[in-house]
């Protein structure tokens, strides 16, 4: 498996095990509703973000140690083409989300609902980005 496909899988995994639970807790409304800044939710977000950084850091370190040559090799033309395609797909998801969050939601929602919708948009765009990377490598292998 190409090194860059492994890092894309790692990013998908990190996203799933950190922001998956975050959005599950937010959706289940297990945290008490509170006015801004709602430190409980802020703390949960900080924990999810920190966990993601840790998982990504540890994963990159492991991948770098197991295949040091691949980790040092700069992306070639196929890697760049795959990244361009995945960024292009993620861009449309991000734009659609931003239109909803910035132009539609403010008329009926406020506070953390908008913040979480923006976060969900970013996470979804990232999932699409890494998902397209993984699919592209799978298709070309």
């Amino acid at each position: 498996m190409p090194y860059r496909e492994k890092t894309a899988w790692l990013s998908l995994l990190a996203m799933a095990i950190t922001f998956g639970p975050y959005f599950a807790i937010v959706a289940s409304r297990r945290l008490p509703e509170a006015s801004l800044p709602n430190l409980n939710l802020l703390g949960l977000f900080a924990a999810a973000a920190l966990a993601q950084v840790l998982v990504l850091g540890a994963g990159r370190l492991y991948l770098g140690r197991t295949s040091p040559d691949d980790a040092r090799t700069p992306p070639d033309e196929r890697d760049s083409a795959i990244v361009r395609r995945s960024m292009s797909a993620a861009y449309y998801v991000l734009i659609a989300g931003i239109i909803v969050v910035g132009c539609v939601m403010p008329f009926s929602f406020s506070g953390w609902a908008i913040v979480n919708a923006a976060l969900a948009t970013i996470v979804t765009a990232e999932l699409v980005h890494y998902g397209v990377v993984v699919c592209s490598y799978r298709r070309q292998t």
Binding site: P2, Y3, D70, E77, R78, D79, T141
Partner: protein, 72 residues
């Protein structure tokens, strides 16, 4: 528009050049071993520059490495 696909003889050229490995060829043209494997399998079409580099490594014209096969 003319329909067709690109085929290549990289596997055979590698064989005739001392069973050159995909990794070695990749190193010589600046791509990864996996990219050479994808090109060989016809799953990735290389850039013109990479195609010329491959031909240069084997010291053959480009048309001996890549062929355009039209679909009837």
């Amino acid at each position: 528009m003319t329909q067709g696909s690109i085929s290549n003889r990289i596997r055979s050229l590698r064989f005739h050049h001392g069973e050159m490995s995909q990794g070695e060829l990749g190193q010589r043209i600046g791509v990864t071993r996996q990219t050479i494997a994808a090109i060989e399998a016809g799953k990735y079409s290389p850039s013109l520059v990479a195609a010329f580099r491959i031909a240069h490594v084997f010291a053959v014209p480009l048309s001996e490495v890549f062929q355009w096969e039209t679909e009837s």
